[in-house]
Amino acid sequence: MAAKKAGKKAAGAKAAGKKAPAKKSAKAAKKAGAAGQAPSASVFLINMIPKALSAETNQDSEPHLTVNPANTRQIVGTAFTPDPSLGPNAPIYVSLDGGNTWMLNSIVPSTAGSISGTGDITTSFNGNASKLYGAILKAGSSAMQFLRTSSFSTPPPMTVLKSRPNADQPFTLATTIGGKDRVYIGNNDFAAGGGRTATIDQSLDGGIAAPVFQAIRVEKRSTVGQDGPQTRPTAHPDGTVYAAFYRWRSLTGNFQANTLVITSADVVVVRDDNGGSGATPYTALIDTGDGIAGKRVVTGVSFPFMISGAAATGQQRIGGSLSIAVSPLSSSTVYLVWGNKPAGSTGFLTLHVTRSLDRGKTWSPDLLTIPNATNGALAINNAGKIAFLYQQLSGVRWVTHLRRSTTGATWDDLTLANTSATNPVRTFNPYLGDYCHLLAVGKDFYGIFSASNVPNSANFPNGVKYQRNADFATQRLFKLDGVTIVPASIDPFFFKITE
């Protein structure tokens, strides 16, 4: 009842560009009886669609984010967003004021007319944003391309550093150590021999005119014919690099008929202690069970690998979920979230958060277990505080949670968004995305997720700002004329948690 009253009050004002500052949102949350919120946290959440694009109805799913470590006012986001004029380059989202306002800059190689702008895309700043690196599956050709620009907020298109076909889900991580950019791009490379497809493409001097990328096959064991699409790297300033992936061991069913199940997979973590350099990179962590590089954190897990989402999965296709984060305080401390469908469970995927304190040799029991969820993402700040972002299906609602803990034992629970899983109807797969993203810069957390954009205050218990024309009183979106109604769609949302 209190929640309804607070929602009505909040909806009483036209909310175009309305900001919900932290203090107010904490008060509103209290009034709404939102138990479990952390009153000291400052939560800033914004719908990233610029006001100029108020008429857009694209399915802007599968978001990713990078923040300039040296200047957190500079932020780049990506999603399946087309060029507003369906031109030859796809846009990135750019903010130069800490996420308070956003614009689109079409600099990603694409193909004219693409309604998603690009296939898979992730980006990462180097240590001071003098370079933005990216990796995509290019619209039109599906080729995996590695990209770079020295000027992310101006028009010239990104330079293609490397291009090759037949790979999947490139996941970019860049850092600067000793004045050199180290670029790690996890991907699933079907060109790899022997079904050992989990790969890290890396350049240890990505900033030079013609950087060389080396494809490191991190899978050392036999597989059913391939690994899963997710190969996720994380790096520490001391040169430690971890990566996590699914090793597929057996499967059954028919992908085309949407009945494929990975019946047995291992979650594997590899480690390199020298930034990936050396003769045998990513072999520092040996599994004592079989003496092979790559610790099998869990073995024999099972989950569906869907070609298309269904009503039971909130229109979202499910295919596992992986994220790994190393603590800035100690490269021996690393957190991992992985997904499976436990035997006998009725949900589609359960997320498990686990931790190692000894450089990946041993792993804790579950610190958190989240049923019916996907798109898990982890980050650790410079105080060692862990944050965990995920999207959980609750009835016909997608609830986007951010959980935080200082020890891993007790966690708070911020609901960033509680949005419809049925409105809008899906345009393509994936509905929300095969991932979302979370990172820490200093003590603060920054993240991005995609969700239904219906402007309803009750959907955003910690407040939200819309740049696009939105009336929270009538829960409608409008074109710039303020009169023509715009149907609901999927939008990317940026958030910052000030610790």
């Binding site: 507003p84 031109g87 130069l96 619209a139 907020s153 499967l251 070609i307 797969n429």
Partner: protein, 265 residues
């Protein structure tokens, strides 16, 4: 005699065409964007062609980046053929070319539907007809459980296209050689982000089909257990695909398309 400038190429590529006046050279309308030599602040006086989402910039000053070899003069009034690059509080566009207004008056009327004209020009075969049937051909994602029997493994990716074949009963061949009664068109049935835009064929569908010729087999097509192998002669024939959203046009457009084909001969 004044030489007319052929703007057809600009027109086909430009997504934002407008009449405007150059207010200032070496200027930018985005606060953070430095103004390189080739940038100019231009007031949009009249929109000639634009997607709805850019119509809001009518009457505004925007930033125009000159193309290679293009010279923009202060105070010049011209028709600008551009592509949008940055969208936000203001707009930045890349110019493909511009025509002073007086010259534009003699340039001739803009061609209707230049994008469709380009599509027709690129097509190897244009036919009218009806989709008689659709069949699945890609068995690469049908996998047995491990140990189930010696099938070779083809990669499984959420981006697999899931190739299908549409058999079109041809009414007329508008462009292309031969007089086939049927044409087989391969298309991706996947609704993944990489393939969702490609047209999906359905039995009974009628229209004008703009097709591209492919080699003997598109990449990635596997004929799995149970699928009949193609006869050698059939396998050697070129196949057609239709990956562009404009590849299927309503039958009502056939006369316009015929006119486009004739005008290129």
């Amino acid at each position: 005699m004044t030489k007319k400038t052929d703007t057809s190429k600009w027109d086909a590529q430009a997504n934002f065409v407008f009449k405007g006046v150059v207010r200032k050279l070496k200027a930018s309308t985005f606060e953070h964007l430095p103004a390189p030599d080739g940038a100019a602040a231009v007031k949009v006086e009249e929109i000639v062609k634009a997607p709805e989402i850019l119509e809001q910039y009518a009457g505004s000053e925007i930033t125009v980046l000159a193309g290679d070899q293009e010279e923009i003069r202060a105070g010049e009034r011209a028709i600008f053929y551009t592509q949008s690059v940055m969208v936000g509080a203001s707009l930045v566009v890349q110019s493909l070319g511009h025509l002073p207004v007086t010259a534009a008056a003699g340039a001739g009327a803009a061609e209707p539907d230049p994008a469709l004209r380009e599509q027709v020009a690129r097509a190897d075969m244009v036919v009218t007809g009806r989709v008689a049937s659709v069949r699945t051909i890609d068995q690469s994602s049908t996998r047995k459980a491990r140990g189930g029997g010696g099938e070779s493994f083809s990669p499984i990716s959420e981006h697999n296209p899931i190739w299908q074949e549409a058999v079109i009963e041809v009414a007329d061949v508008e462009k292309g050689s031969g007089a086939p009664k049927q044409i087989v068109v391969r298309f991706p049935a996947s609704t993944d982000v990489l393939w969702s835009q490609a047209p999906k064929f359905e039995p009974g569908q009628e229209g004008v089909f703009l097709l591209s010729r492919e080699g003997a087999e598109p990449a990635g097509v596997k004929r799995g257990r149970g699928a009949k192998p193609l006869a050698q002669k059939e396998a050697a024939k070129p196949h057609y695909t239709a990956l562009d959203p404009a590849a299927i046009q309503p039958i009502q457009k056939v006369e316009a398309i015929r006119s486009m084909i004739r005008s290129r001969k």
